[in-house]
């Protein structure tokens, strides 16, 4: 994957992907649409303060070398360009995992930052994880529909705009920047389904009009959809986005940002759990570890575990984040 020669005329380097060649061999190759992407661009290089004027703001970006096209489908366009008819948007939403430690949500244990644990329903796994310091607030239980769950929030994560209901309408609803659904991409060798919110799931601080949290992760299996990440062994599920009802109100006793990971107006949130593939067996030795103590564990219990990543993407805005998961099954000790 070399860089393309950018010393002269603009050239376009096009290749068929693996899938394209496969479709061609099978006689069902039909291109019907296109999309554009900017994966190589670091917009942080856009220098709005260039002393030479606006013509020089993007000088460094325009000099970005671009790699040759390559044939893996998953590496085509990771970050697509977006269409929004409004030209006066100043803010775009972001998707973040809520790690505020709210009841019925999970966050990574302090000894293994960044890893979200999922416990197998096998005997003693939950108890042994808790004994090892992976508390009930640090792991979900496979296929549990009442929580705890991984809570993700979308919205404008800025302190410039208060997260009021009015600002939500102005900056998100009126500009079509709300995701009512999210796509969750998961490794179907390890995970058999994704659990997402039901219509009765709730996350707000307005129920008592005093800032008290109402969080109800009622989950159910979400439908599998054909939109795929085009990563080998990955499938996609479509989960509901429910209204993120955390709002800023100066009269509330609890500040909104103690409940929400988003600092400004919130759009929707989603709650996730997974159902571990019940037939997991040799996968632990092939892709993870068997009969191994957790790093930083307290009593030396041993687990079979393997690590995988969930990719979550807003269906409307394309905002995305990754959730590193560790699937654990108690083994011995």
């Amino acid at each position: 994957m070399g860089f393309l020669d950018n010393s002269g005329d603009i050239i376009l380097d096009a290749v068929l992907t693996d899938l394209g060649r496969q479709k061609m061999a099978r006689g069902n190759f039909s291109i019907t649409k296109f999309a554009v992407g900017d994966d190589e661009i670091d917009y942080g290089l856009y220098n709005k303060n260039s002393p030479s004027g606006s013509a020089y703001y993007d000088l460094e970006i325009l000099q970005t070398p671009v790699m040759e096209a390559f044939t893996q489908t998953n590496a085509g366009i990771n970050y697509g360009l977006l269409t929004n008819t409004a030209t006066d948007l100043l803010y775009l939403p972001t998707l973040r995992i809520n790690t505020k430690g709210l009841n019925n949500t999970v966050r990574p244990p302090s000894t293994m930052r960044g890893l979200f644990f999922v416990a197998s329903t096998a005997a003693d796994t939950t108890n042994k994880l808790i004994a090892e310091g992976v508390t009930a607030a640090n792991h979900t239980i496979s296929n549990a529909t009442t929580g705890p769950a991984i809570l993700l929030e979308a919205g404008l994560d800025t302190t410039d705009i208060n997260g009021t209901a009015a600002n939500r309408t102005t900056y998100l609803l009126n500009t079509n920047l709300v995701d009512n659904y999210y796509f969750v991409y998961y490794d179907n060798r390890f995970i058999s389904s994704i659990l997402g919110p039901t219509p009765v799931s709730k996350f707000n601080n307005t129920v008592d009009e005093n800032g008290t949290l109402e969080l109800s992760p009622a989950l159910h299996n979400s439908p599998r959809v054909s939109t795929d990440l085009q990563l080998e062994n990955y499938s996609a599920a479509r989960v509901r986005g429910i209204m993120d009802g955390i709002v800023y109100n100066e009269s509330f006793g609890t500040v909104d940002t103690t409940l929400s990971i988003i600092s400004g107006p919130r759009s929707t949130c989603t709650m996730l759990n997974v159902e571990i593939n019940p037939n997991l067996s040799t996968e632990f030795s092939k892709f993870g570890s068997e009969d191994t103590a957790l790093p930083g564990g307290l009593v030396g219990a041993k687990f079979d575990f393997l690590d995988t990543i969930l990719y979550v993407q807003g269906a409307n805005t394309g905002i995305q984040t990754q959730i590193p998961l560790r699937i654990c099954k108690y083994k011995s000790g």
Binding site: L4, I10, I11, L12, D13, A14, V15, L16, T17, G20, K23, F29, S30, I31, F34, A35, V36, D38, D39, E40, I41, D42, Y43, G44, Y46, K48, D58, I61, Q63, T64, V66, A69, T71, G76, N78, Y79, G80, L81, L82, T83, N84, T87, D88, L89, L90, Y91, L92, T94, G155, D157, D160, S226, D228, L229, G264, Y311, A315, G318, I319, Q320
Partner: protein
Amino acid sequence: MAVVNYEPLGTADVTTTKTLLHESIPLTGTILSGTYGTLLSGDNIKNYTHGMFQSVYDYPYLSSSANHIFDLTVGFNASSPLSGTSGVTMESKKINMYNQFSQVLLGFTGSGNTIRDFELDTTLDQTGSMKESLFINFSRLLYKDEIKKGTVSLVLGTGSWADPFALTKTLSDASASATAGTANTMGGDYGVLYSAADDTARGVVFYQAGLIVLSTSSWDSIPLFNSGSDYGYTITDSLVSASISGSCDALRHRIKNISFNNTTEINSTIYFCRIPSNKYNYSSNPTYISSSQIVVKNVASDTPVSYVTTIGLYNGNNQLLATAKLSEPLRKDPNNEITLRVRLDY
């Protein structure tokens, strides 16, 4: 990740085209004899136990780096005076080789449905027959889809055995072109190779088959076409008494240069990807925002800007079938429209 915004491609956005690509193929005599061994043998020359032809590689053929470049063989028609001569070495195989090329390229004719003779003209009237021939059969790696008409040139040594290139004959198909000077047979188009010095036909070239058929006439006048420590043959004697590979060795010894242009036919589909002014002005690239604010803007009224580096072509199921990369980012904002012409070659 899956892309969120797609743009449909209508029938007006897709067209097809055909392009012919030519490469110059020069083959020097040193590769044919001498570079990879002593005269008449070499690690790049492969002979077979059946003895019906000889293969020439561009490098010692036992190496995985070697490319097969052409085969050589000789033969004569069953109606040739050489046929039936007493003591003909490998007679049936020489006739078989001639017949095989002839039946594939020229076919059968007449009330007896007999195999055609190769002819030194384009009239196919059974005059000017080459009843004894030497065949140079190029690998498709070299000639690709076909040899370009009017580009074939051979320099053949007609000097003594010891110094074959003291005298040379240059054969070319200069009279052939894409529109004239060739005949069409069941084996494709062929043109005549003329000797530049005396304007005499000395062979033919089949363009689509990648085959040169040489008559023996280039060497009729020399006493030693093929020689060794205990033998010396005219070309006719060589076709009678020498094995096929022995005559092929002698032919290699007398090839100074071969050159031609090959042709690759490229069929392309061109997709005109039109990006309108009011679309694709924002990005889902994580670096596009900082604290949720678009980094290319100071205030809301600033023009949104994005940069295009990649075009993905998808089917109806959102599956990526082809990718194209621009050599440098293109700025996209509401004040411009971009049409990108993506060409896929087959």
